[in-house]
Amino acid sequence: MAESEVLSAIPSALDLSQREAVLRALFDNEQLRQWCIAYVRKHGGNRQDGEDVFQEAIIVFDRKLRLGDYRGEGSLEAFFTGIVRWQWFNEQRKLGRSGIQYWEVPPEPLPTQDAELASLLDERLDCLEKVLKLLNDKCRNLLKMFQLDLSMEEIARRAGYANSSVAKKEVSICRKRLKALVEKKWNWFYP
């Protein structure tokens, strides 16, 4: 398989264990971690900020990989460092600290397939968290597994249901519950 094919297959090819392996490989990558810390320190942060940004960047990297935002242009390492740069810049901007002394040229915004989804996750975080609190643990768990594209058989196994039909029904109930909540709180997201 050519590298380009492999790279384009990444988002759909990752199963749960591969996903964890990717996360672990990133987490253990001491070079990337040290680069991240050095970058944050150079741009007004300290070592702890660097560690925190490294962790958040892994989370964003995972999401962007699954949502097809990585298009195989450039290496994955470069994609990750782009996330670190943007993450730290954005954090400083939100705190009103993005002074020119640290950024002569602001980093490039991250590539995204769906700008509205990215904006929801960036600007409506508090509203999303409020909705999240209205969901019970069972639904949270099922929605998470559904979003990770687990098969109904796998969801049934993990959630302890008798079979995939039960899992399918339970997932559907939770999705409907969330849909009703979103309808009710529509203005939170789309004022």
Binding site: E3, A25, A38, E51, L67, D114, L121, K144, Q147
Partner: protein, 283 residues
Amino acid sequence: MRVVLPDEQIRAFLKGQGSPEERAAIAEQLAADAQLARRAAQLRVEIAVSELLIAEDTRKLLQRWRAQKRQSTAPNMRFLLVAAALASLIGMAGIIWYLAIRTDPAPLPPAELNDRSVLPQASEPPKRQVAPSPMASSRPAEYYRRRAARLLPDPPLPTFRNTLTAVPDDPVVRAQQAYTEGHYGEALALLERADSSRSQTAAFWAAHALFRLGRYGEAAERFSNLIAQRSRQYRYAAEWGLLLCRYAELPKQALAFQQQLRAILAQPDHPYFDVAQELAQDK
């Protein structure tokens, strides 16, 4: 006629799936149909909420790994207690010895007077240094070797791409496997068979294997070669590796160590700048 798109198709679109043509067709339909656009907006919130849940889980996982990492690098409490007990015993013996010397001021033969090793330490207190360099201390060689081994991170293990593209018979992949299992000699032998397209990766791993085998001179040579080649991928790590090779051989390699330490400290953006500074201050 209005085309009804199933939810799953919209979800797949929002999750970045589908060919460019399929995606363009769906985007067109969403732009033309307000009802469909609203459904997409609902699903977008569903995805965003689910992604938050996943992020929460991932954060917990990473924090657990962070805690494990901290635990594994923290010094063993038992070892600390034993070390403290030994230190106080040595201290007490020193006091007794010092008192014995004071009460029995027998003149030393001139030859012994010139030999600092037999002079009582307490009679000439060492000068206080603000930032003692590692060479100034009288630690046993074993201390430097152990500390260097702790400070040298293992090469980044198969990354995302390698995880997916690994060919089981690839000597480099097998060497990496052998290395992670602690079979450094075997890893070295396998790396010898790596093809020329992966010479830098092979050299980098070989340097680490040699280091773990305690063959610091040879490891330093491999790291130096990578630095000389201005390897984009391995340069910084090789500079750090070279420094640790020198550190492991202190006090013998004191000069080379100082030289390499200065080279890293001259680059404030160097990823290992902070740790190098700690080494310089002998923390």
